[in-house]
């Protein structure tokens, strides 16, 4: 098969499709509890801001992007629908980079496979699939197995959280609104492994706070994101004189 010939690993060492799919399931298993817990919190808070159980679940099933869904829910009712969609786009722009690095490994696959695998391209599945491909052990079935496991866990846990979220009363009394910044803190802190990322975060956070009174409707977020990323890009261009 042409696909086998493209694979640097010897075809005789590559298991058939069904086991490869199962290997994807197994490889992603350690990440599932964290994803499920995040989805659970998403479901609870989505209901708290007034989304129906159907809308809460539909967002998980159609968008399938944790950070973006969480952000959308945190802006729900405070910002316009258009700004929520634009913010979703900005948060997910990173997938463009992941797709770009995945593209060479999916060359030669059918459009159906590409379309299917692209839908499941999230941080966790990218990390697992690309590391397999780089070791010469990657396959579309492995990638799909990872995607399916993550998708099922994400949608079902979000649904469960949505049911629970409909039961929690008086969210303000428990300080539930604090869950949002804490979740984003949990997403931000692991990214701070380089000084330049710290500078990006500091600039963005500062702009978001300072600009809040002048740019209502969460417009301060857009300014903060653009300036913060711009600061990082400028600093990197300055520190690393690559021509």
């Amino acid at each position: 098969m042409a696909r086998e010939a493209m694979n640097p690993a010897s075809p005789s060492n590559t298991p058939p499709p069904a086991p490869r799919f199962r290997h994807g399931f197994v490889a992603v298993a350690p990440l599932v509890p964290g994803v499920a817990a995040f989805a659970l919190v998403y479901g609870v808070v989505a209901r708290q801001v007034g989304l129906s159980l159907l809308a809460t679940t539909m967002m998980s099933a159609l968008v399938f992007a944790g950070a973006a869904q969480f952000t959308a829910v945190s802006m729900w009712g405070l910002a316009s629908g258009a700004l929520i969609v634009v913010t979703t786009l900005m948060i997910n722009l990173r997938h463009l980079l992941m797709g770009a690095s995945m593209a060479p490994h999916l060359r030669g696959q059918s459009a159906t496979w590409k379309a299917l695998l692209a839908f499941g391209l999230v941080d966790e599945s990218y990390a697992l699939a690309i590391s397999r491909y780089l070791r010469g052990e990657g396959s579309r079935e492995f990638f799909l197995g990872v995607n399916v496991a993550l998708y099922v866990a994400w949608v079902l846990s979000g649904l469960t959280g949505g049911v629970l979220g409909g039961l929690v009363m008086q969210p303000a009394r428990w300080g539930i609104d604090l869950v949002f910044p804490l979740a984003f803190l949990g997403l931000l802190v692991p990214l701070l492994t380089r000084p330049v990322t710290g500078a990006v975060a500091a600039a963005s956070g500062l702009v978001a706070v300072v600009a809040a009174p002048w740019l209502p409707g969460k417009g301060n977020l857009v300014l903060a994101i653009l300036l913060g990323s711009g600061v990082g890009t400028a600093l990197e261009a300055w520190w690393t004189p690559t021509r």
């Binding site: 995040f38 159609l62 929520i84 997910n92 990173r94 802190v189």
Partner: protein
């Protein structure tokens, strides 16, 4: 804007970030653009973190949320997971609120 229209819009823009590169890309993006895109996640999360923790009433105030964020950040650094971070932050917040009366 209708709830389902917003959800559909989110779904479309999200897929629009995932599919095109896989279908079309044969070479890398310009490096400055790649760097800019790479910095966006940290910028987004920082912009969402800072105002509610550091300026809950609009102006800079170091209140209970900011203090509760310190143990939460430590847990985030160690575990690299969202759920333990939320537990640590909410737990600290409740303890602090109880101590403050």
């Amino acid at each position: 804007m209708d709830t389902y229209a917003v959800i559909l819009g989110m779904a479309l823009v999200t897929y629009a970030t995932r599919a095109p590169a896989i279908f079309l890309l044969s070479r890398r993006l310009p490096s400055a653009l790649e760097r800019f895109l790479g910095h966006i996640p940290a910028a987004v999360f920082a912009a969402l973190v800072a105002p509610p923790l550091l300026a809950p009433e609009g102006s800079l105030t170091l209140g209970l949320p900011a203090v509760a964020a310190i143990p939460a950040a430590a847990v985030a650094w160690r575990t690299r997971q969202v759920f333990p971070t939320i537990l640590a932050g909410m737990g600290s917040y409740w303890v602090l609120r109880w101590l403050a009366g």
